[in-house]
């Protein structure tokens, strides 16, 4: 049977693997050898499930959006990851990785962050466990995301500015990798998305898979069948998408839709639509699609949503794109911002701008009245208020 999951070497078709400097090999190898065994132990599962329930607030609701469904004449369900503690799905992964790090005997955590959501989710679980936390963040992003920087500091994390290159997410990731090279024994690196060298894409996808696991039960109750016709999520690196696709990847009844950020337009030179603009290459230890110059230098993407402007995409998604298992759509800033308002005013849910991109698919293509649409409502819009205020002159 064909599968869209990673093989034992971490490849999704042509993509994935571990293209890492030898200095990182022991760290990554230690993880690779242990992640499946540790995460399948009963005591790990019990602690993970307990924290997801009592601390994160899972299961998150599956909500039937009646006004939206009526307007678009189809059945629209929202998986409410925005209701997770810290405001997005990111914490599912950081809980999983901190428990893994503890069992590997690590006493120091590093992470990268772009907009600060993953940084906050990491700082949160480090506070929960009483473990030292250092978050690398591009110097430019530190200026742009002051509230999340303050949150991380309140949670006891040290925020270190990445001053190299373009001073944004990709550079923060480089700095975190360098830190790991310099501290190979005591440190675990919590990557925030389904990117990086094997085993990260598969490991993060497994931690996020709780999203679609819950959807199966919840859809069964709501619709009498445990699968949707379409599952829809925004994709930057792709962790929320990986989570809601996970249990449907190999189910041909389910159409997968991935929504990328077109920024100011695919051809504007200011975009983050990696599937359309990217070419096969290597970024942060993974073979995948990435945005780059013809000479192979990695370029800086643009989106109004800081969580989608990663120049690559997880290898799972690159494979879904190449094999046409998933439909890829890209949505410009303006449509995403408008959907921020639409979802707020039709359903009383203020979404993150990343999340708003996914809903714009409703204007892009036609759905049948009996189609069941499953959207990942991946994050809440609190962090984006300043952007909404500026944009809509609120």
């Amino acid at each position: 049977m064909s599968t869209y999951h990673a093989d034992e070497k971490g490849y999704y078709g042509d993509f994935g693997g571990a293209y890492i400097p030898e200095m990182l090999y022991p760290n990554v190898e230690e993880l690779r050898q242990n992640y499946l065994e540790i995460t399948s132990q009963p005591d790990f599962k019990a602690e993970f499930d307990q924290l997801l329930k009592d601390y994160v607030g899972r299961p998150t609701p599956l909500y039937f959006a009646s006004r939206l469904s009526e307007k678009y004449n189809t059945k629209i369900y929202l998986k409410r990851e925005d209701l997770c503690h810290t405001g997005a799905h990111k914490i599912n992964n950081t809980i999983g990785q901190i428990l893994l790090a503890k069992r590997l005997g690590k006493n120091r955590i590093i992470a990268e962050t772009g907009a600060g959501q993953h940084g906050v989710a990491t700082a949160t679980v480090c506070a929960l466990m009483g473990i030292e936390c250092i978050v690398y963040m591009g110097a430019l992003d530190i200026k742009r995301q002051a509230p999340n920087v303050a949150r991380m500091k309140m949670l006891g994390a040290e925020v270190r500015p990445a001053q190299s290159g373009s001073k944004t997410l990709k550079d923060a990731t480089n700095e975190a990798i360098r830190d790991w090279i310099n501290n190979p024994v005591d440190t675990h690196y919590i990557i925030g998305s389904v990117v990086g060298p094997h085993p990260y894409p598969d490991m993060v996808a497994r931690f996020q898979a709780i999203i679609s696991e819950e959807c199966k039960t919840q859809l069964q109750e709501a619709e009498g069948r445990d699968y949707p016709d379409h599952v829809i999520a925004c994709v930057g690196g792709g962790s929320n998408a990986a989570g809601i696709y996970y249990h449907y990847l190999d189910d041909p009844r389910v159409n997968i839709i991935a929504v990328e950020a077109a920024g100011k337009g695919i051809d504007s030179g200011e975009s983050a639509a990696t599937s359309a603009l990217g070419k096969e290459g290597i970024i942060h230890g993974s073979k995948t699609l990435l945005m780059q110059t013809p000479d192979g230098q990695i370029t800086e993407p643009y989106s109004i949503s800081a969580g989608l402007d990663y120049p690559g995409v997880g290898p799972m998604h690159a494979h879904l794109y190449r094999t046409q298992r998933a439909e890829f759509v890209s949505i410009p800033d303006q449509e995403a911002m408008d959907w921020g308002l639409t979802l707020s005013q039709m359903e009383g849910i203020i979404p993150a701008i990343e999340t708003a991109h996914a809903f714009a698919v409703l204007d892009e293509r036609k759905f049948e009245p009996n189609d069941v649409l499953l959207f990942n409502c991946s994050g809440r819009g609190d962090k984006d208020l300043e952007t909404f205020i500026d944009y809509f002159k609120l």
Binding site: E22, M23, N182, I282, H284, D295
Partner: protein
């Protein structure tokens, strides 16, 4: 015999110098190569700049950023090196990340390397097993040796595997670090150098990372065939300009 293999056979310690192509100025590459040779350097590593050099520390990353800003490209490098073998006879190794080579086309890249007289490659993010399975034949076809890194954390079994695949030298990273992170060597390094020395590997060892002066050069070469200096040389070029190579080398040996 490949020039790298020849120089490894010589019975003195080797000094290899790294610098970033296109730095400090775009067209300094060949002039620096010639000065290095004139000052008795045994081997030269030429850095192909990359936007995201994650195995490198700030000094080399900044020199790469500067070189890219100067207009350095893969094509430009080969153009600069077109006639280099008329004047430069020491072994030349290109050190670069894999993504630019993939975009150039790995085979086309190897072919151009052979045409201009490159002897080998160091590609930090191309793991030994991927090289062994997918690229070794191609590299051999174009007469290129590929060198691998080991660190204090590399398990013995993996070192043996790297030794088996290696045809040139093994690049022994002095400590758990990105480039340029150390200023002196301590007992930990000495123990590590001894441990690896005692493994009796087939490949000769060159120590790199954290070598910046005569003292660290001496310490590094006590237990190895030679040493590689990168960041300290880049810093020197930055402070003293592209014509100051002799000053630097005279401080080392």
């Amino acid at each position: 015999m490949n020039r790298i293999q020849s120089v490894l056979e010589q019975d003195h310690k080797l000094l290899s110098i790294y610098f970033t192509a296109g730095f400090p100025n775009l067209d300094d590459t060949v002039s620096i190569l010639k000065q290095l040779q004139d000052n008795g350097v045994d081997m030269i590593e030429l850095g192909l700049p990359f936007s995201d050099p994650l195995a490198d520390g700030p000094t080399i990353q900044e020199s790469s950023t500067q070189a890219l800003r100067n207009g350095m490209t893969t094509d430009k490098l080969f153009e600069q090196l077109k006639d280099v073998r008329k004047e430069v006879h020491v072994p030349l190794v290109v050190m670069g990340y894999f993504n630019p080579m993939m975009q150039y086309g790995v085979e086309r890249f190897c072919q151009r390397c052979q045409e201009v007289g490159i002897d080998g490659l160091i590609i930090p993010d191309l793991p030994v097993d991927v090289y062994h399975e997918q690229y070794q034949k191609l590299f051999q076809q174009y007469g290129l040796l590929n060198m691998f890194l080991i660190t204090p954390q590399t398990p013995d079994e993996r070192i043996r595997y790297i030794d088996k695949v290696s045809e040139g030298f093994i690049y022994m990273v002095s400590s758990a670090a990105t480039t340029g992170a150390q200023s002196s060597f301590g007992d930990t390094q000495a123990a590590y150098f001894k441990r690896i020395g005692a493994m009796n590997l087939n490949a000769k060892l060159l120590v790199g990372f954290g070598i910046s002066n005569a003292e660290t050069y001496q310490a590094a070469t006590n237990h190895s065939k030679g040493a590689i200096i990168g960041s300290a040389f880049i810093k020197h070029l930055e402070a003293n300009g592209a014509n100051s190579v002799a000053d630097f080398i005279s401080q080392i040996r």
